[in-house]
Subunit: 440 residues, 2 copies
Amino acid sequence: MRLSRYLLPILREVPKEAEIVSHRLMLRAGMVRQESAGIYAWLPLGKKVLDKICNVIREEQNRSGAIEIMMPTIQSADLWRESGRYDDYGKEMLRIKDRHERDMLYGPTNEEMLTEIVRAYVKSYKDLPLNLYHIQWKFRDEVRPRFGVMRSREFLMKDAYSVDLDFENAVIAYNRMFVAYLRTFARLGLKAIPMVADTGPIGGNHSHEFIILASTGESEVFCHADYLDMAPPPAGIDFRDPAALQATVDQWTSLYAATEEKHDEAAFNAVEEGKRLSARGIEVGHIFYFGTKYSEPMGAKVTGPDGVERPVHMGSYGIGPSRLVAAIIEASHDENGIIWPDDIAPFKVGILNLKVGDAATDATCEQLYATLTAKGVDVLYDDTEERPGSKFATADLIGLPWQIIVGPKGLAAGTVELKRRADGARENLSVESALARVLG
Amino acid sequence: MRLSRYLLPILREVPKEAEIVSHRLMLRAGMVRQESAGIYAWLPLGKKVLDKICNVIREEQNRSGAIEIMMPTIQSADLWRESGRYDDYGKEMLRIKDRHERDMLYGPTNEEMLTEIVRAYVKSYKDLPLNLYHIQWKFRDEVRPRFGVMRSREFLMKDAYSVDLDFENAVIAYNRMFVAYLRTFARLGLKAIPMVADTGPIGGNHSHEFIILASTGESEVFCHADYLDMAPPPAGIDFRDPAALQATVDQWTSLYAATEEKHDEAAFNAVEEGKRLSARGIEVGHIFYFGTKYSEPMGAKVTGPDGVERPVHMGSYGIGPSRLVAAIIEASHDENGIIWPDDIAPFKVGILNLKVGDAATDATCEQLYATLTAKGVDVLYDDTEERPGSKFATADLIGLPWQIIVGPKGLAAGTVELKRRADGARENLSVESALARVLG
């Protein structure tokens, strides 16, 4: 992409309304624009990051055996009356009357609809296990939306729903998602720690929030410091092997980790000196086994091997890609801007032409741009007439992992400058060497 | 994908509620499920087709220079009061009050919001031309939603918006989209004919509906038969060359083509005998130049090269991917089911194991499945215990373009059967030859 033909509305000033660094940087980098309170349009740069995050999530969901569908945003109130949640859900639910005065709502989540689909099509234990997910916009009418896309009203969510014959199989399904989440967050460059969360009336040990540590987090968390160095499960882990999954879950739940609500001071104090970590945390995922809570009242039943019909055991598994954009920035930035992990950077490489109009710099930049584009690399070519200082600032602000700086002085010496955003390392290299490094 | 681990709820009976063939086939093939009147969940097979259609649209939009963004579904009524459309738009607009009693709405289209974004960020003619698009769910509260996803209430739409300094540049932008649409429909296997559409108070010749002929179409159309053999613009067409674009548009508007509303009987009768085609048509796209209709009242202005500020000239360009799924089926099916064009088939290849449990057929199927999957081909492996007849029927119903049929008899002779869905051609081939044909 040529920057001269792109829409990248950089703000040089720090927006006053933004309280946390991710919100400030997303506004400054021209990633989003607020259209109403807690409702954002995603501008080109933001959309690209959002897509890349969704693709990582999708790959890991598919790898675990989950199947993608797409449920609508508008739901019938009747569906929620079946589960009893229509009246329970408070003002966060956006309630709507259509032209025929029917009660509708903008889905804040999809347990009811998914259960309805299961009820319609899944009749036998032979159709199980099943895990269906979608990535769709949700709406929760927060009283006070804030922190940009971190706590917005309209937000993107990946929600998966597992369906199994009984508790034992549901735990295997739960573990599959647990492992998929660990892999997902690691690929997004996040050190997410699974913490036991409230399971409400169902009880048991099968609800976890995945939390990253960040000074701007909304809640206080307590955990063993060794979590920060734990290696995520490998790509080759066998999702059809319950024992391998359980071993991973056991490892990742073996040390102390709790949110404020579930914090146990005595247990925390039993953690060895120097390993006790208390910090602020941001929730980036939540997985939950809820048994027959919806299948029972809604009549989603299957016939077991014994010929007896019984309600299916279910769980739900959420990750918010739009919130993740902000969470990743909270976890990875410096005073100059965002530092994207390579896999989700909007553009992997920036080419900075320091003297547009100069035949040599133009030719070299065009050559770099053509070569990288042909290799399928996402490149942003800064072909604008801005000053060099402004180009450096923009490339750092928007967090381009690799920056190839092309100026007349360097070219006279046969080199371009290659800069790595993460550590600021710079090297003068031939064009060929710079390409080799970026592609390597 | 192994069919035994997939959710593909095939209906053997013809659903009574479905009036048109695409609706019947989408229900029978387990592609969608109605959740409320005119509101559908996309089941796994439907979601895959929808994604493939979106990808074709996206590739052609990007090729033409349009840039992807993502605007929210929920909009503020205030934005629509600025343009004057809040009161004009009738009951089709889903109006909502949020918890603070603010007037909101579910966007039926995005001209206002896009104009607001342009107003905020685009200040100079140097930032133009600009074309921003998104692919997002829209809601139009139809009195009588019908024909499945062909006329639903919640539907997916790609809407693009061009922004230019003046009329002359806006026409170039219009032509870019005209050409991109021709390419898009051709890639989707559709013979879409651009027909002059109403431009309302703006006048001029810059509004076209793209229409495919189908007996179940909702409107009557009249055109020159030669449109059906016209070759679409090549992939290499230069979108930066206004003359090349204009020549293509001229070619595609040179012959008679009109919807009922714009039909001119005298002009139609002037078409040579034997070339007059009157048929039913389905609208699959609509492009529209609307000048300063929104930029003027909303104050979206740029400074021209002369230093004078003026409102930008805009156009909008819509394609409905969810409706396209149905339109493609209307255009491409037979008595056995759907016939997908290769590029948007949910799975390019089906492997039909006629005797699950037989060591030889199992081994051959697994080998085929592993080889094709490793090559990145989307494969559906029917590893269920259904009868052969049922497997044949399913593969044809869901429209798999290539079907590799593996049975003990064939294997004894060293062959599998390769069937082409489109023409039903069958051949007995070695495994290697079958693979070569499918991959070739």
